[in-house]
């Protein structure tokens, strides 16, 4: 196995035992980016010089025994909607193409305190709106398993970079599945933490009541390490949850005996690809054989999750994106007649097609005469979705199903039909609507040799149970060891 294919744990062990320095490891990753990212397209910005400089500083600290972080010296990359001081943060939009944040997001700050080495910023759907990374202003990202296919989205660059060995791990953001679905498409591990568990300060807002930052990694153990670093209460985010956050590595136990796991019938009957269904149900059998009690149950509200999600997220987006007016930062149109026209021209030229579509849908749903019929109705359905899950968690320790109804599809296959694309969020969006944690792990390969993902959904702030189930699954299967041949 090549160095770039190793997990964070393995890299960290090599660094600690002085078998490799952070500078050498960072150089391996940078060389790998030079070699294959022309084909994959996962990075918007590569920090060649500053990464090496940073790795030298970190290595110096390691040599002097001044850091004991398990993430010290590890090369990491962030989705390009996470603010990094002095480093361009474009959100894959023309609107923010020249935006250099004057501050670090809380997660950036926390990971720098852990002595990680930032290698670059990753491609995504513009403003995180999309499921294929085809909506980027910059470029397409290709799936490392088959470069004719999409990596998923919106954190497509993040998932592809980890899958192709272009970063040891990455941070993405998830509003309706944007960490879990690309993780599933690229055969890596992705976690959307409970709403409020990770500070959103410095995450460019899409839909504030749904957005969460989370890790994408090569295995569940790495996921636990990263969660330890990024979760926690933050005064700078008024929606941050002031609760006790556990040591997530303690939940890495090879044991699911007696755990009750519910599988929603609606997740394995409607519109799901047969091979995905089989792989997920085989995964359920693995857990059953290890002593978990798995049974099917009905979650009839499932079919209403997507309509509710698209109304709520678009309404919040139309409000959040009102700030892009060409005055304080970002793009400004060259030709305009007066102030009002400056706003209009800037927004019309600065936003891409999908972003305009969501702004239009959200503005419509919030407009006079339609507010009750659409926006408020969706918020009422949100209550029912939340209740559907809380009822399920009276009986089960976790809920399990597929992450996405299909494996990675071909580039261009769904990009002309927005509704078709939206339906891909069927199993993930309700988790954001209810604010729950969700973990996607590899659970199989289809006949095209494309990875299949399994999603485990938990009670609020019970990431530990998800990690325990995921870890046990990994210890008893080999899927997480598969690497894309690129």
């Amino acid at each position: 196995m090549e160095l770039y294919d190793l997990s964070v744990h393995e890299m960290s062990d090599l660094i600690k035992s002085k078998k490799i320095s952070s500078v050498e490891l960072t150089q391996v990753i940078l060389d790998r980016i030079k070699k294959v990212d022309g084909e994959i397209g996962s990075y918007i910005t590569v920090l060649e010089e500053s990464a090496i400089k940073r790795a030298r500083e970190v290595q110096d600290k390691i040599d002097k025994g001044e850091t004991n972080s398990p993430l010290a010296g590890i090369p990491v990359a962030f989705k390009d909607n996470i603010c990094t001081e002095g480093i361009k943060t474009t959100c894959a939009s023309k609107m923010l193409d020249n935006f250099i944040p004057p501050y670090n997001a809380t997660v950036s700050h926390k990971l720098f305190l852990e002595d990680t080495v930032l290698v670059g910023k990753l491609n995504m759907d513009e403003f995180a709106m999309g499921g294929s990374t085809e909506n980027s202003f910059h470029k397409l990202t290709k799936n490392p398993w088959d470069t004719k296919r999409v990596p998923g989205g919106s954190s497509g660059g993040a998932a592809a970079s980890v899958a192709a060995g272009l970063a040891a791990f990455a941070l993405g953001s998830d509003t309706g599945g944007s960490i879990r679905q690309p993780a599933s498409f690229c055969g890596v591990v992705g976690m959307k933490p409970t709403y409020g568990a990770v500070s959103r300060y410095g995450l460019v807002a899409f839909a504030s009541s749904l957005d969460q930052i989370g890790p994408i990694s090569k295995n569940v153990s790495d996921c636990a390490l990263i969660l330890n670093a990024i979760t926690g209460y933050d005064l700078n985010d008024s929606t941050s949850a002031n609760v006790n956050y556990p040591d997530y590595t303690k939940s890495l136990q090879n044991d699911v005996k007696g755990l009750k796991i519910g599988i929603p019938k609606e997740y394995i009957t409607q519109g799901i690809n047969d091979e995905v269904k089989k792989a997920v149900l085989d995964g359920v059998k693995v857990l059953e054989n290890l002593g978990a009690k798995c049974e099917e149950f009905s979650l009839p509200i499932t079919e209403y999750a997507i309509p509710a999600y698209y109304l709520i997220s678009s309404a919040e987006a139309s409000s959040n994106l009102a700030r892009y007016d060409g005055i304080k930062y970002g793009f400004r149109a060259e030709k305009f007649t007066d102030l009002s026209d400056l706003y209009r021209q800037t927004r019309s030229e600065g936003f891409g097609t999908e972003v305009k579509r969501r702004i239009m849908l959200g503005t419509y749903a919030l407009s006079s005469g339609y507010y009750d019929e659409y926006y408020n109705k969706a918020l009422q359905v949100r209550t029912l979705i939340k209740k559907g899950f809380s009822d399920a968690f009276e009986k089960y320790d976790a809920v399990l199903g597929p992450t996405a109804p299909t494996t990675a599809y071909k580039i261009g296959e769904k990009s002309e039909d927005p509704l078709e694309m939206y339906l891909g969020d069927i199993y993930t969006a309700s988790v954001n609507i209810a604010g729950l944690p969700g973990l996607s792990i590899p659970c199989g390969m289809d006949s095209n040799n494309l990875p299949i993902g399994m999603q485990i959904i938990g009670k609020p702030f019970d990431e530990s149970t998800l990690l325990r189930i995921g870890y046990t699954f990994e210890k008893n299967t080999e899927f997480h060891k598969n690497r894309a041949k690129i």
Partner: protein, 95 residues
């Protein structure tokens, strides 16, 4: 739900977007498809159901009003498209 070109123009105006004729056409079709789909929610009886804006109940979050260092003016202005004399510059708005 029928979406007309007039609706699209009205909503675009609220969203401060100038749309080309081609964009208006495309959006009329797309919005009609999407809205017909989300109309599915009307199958659910939500009479008396409270709305959930946020999953965690958030009341006003206050902090002590303490003086702390803030960003320098230059740093904040550094991303502005047009700056003059330490201010954001905009087109004339008062005749």
């Amino acid at each position: 739900m029928k979406v007309t070109k007039e609706t699209i123009e009205h909503v675009a105006n609220l969203a401060r977007l100038n749309l080309s004729e081609k964009e208006k056409e495309r959006l009329t079709t797309d919005m009609e498809n999407i809205i017909s789909y989300v109309d599915k929610l009307n199958q659910l009886d939500t009479k008396g159901v409270k709305s959930t804006e946020h999953v965690i109940p958030i009341k006003n979050v206050f902090r002590e009003d303490e003086v702390k260092p803030s960003f320098s003016r230059d740093k904040i202005l550094s991303n502005a498209p047009e700056v003059e004399d330490g201010c954001f510059k905009v087109p004339k708005i008062v005749e």
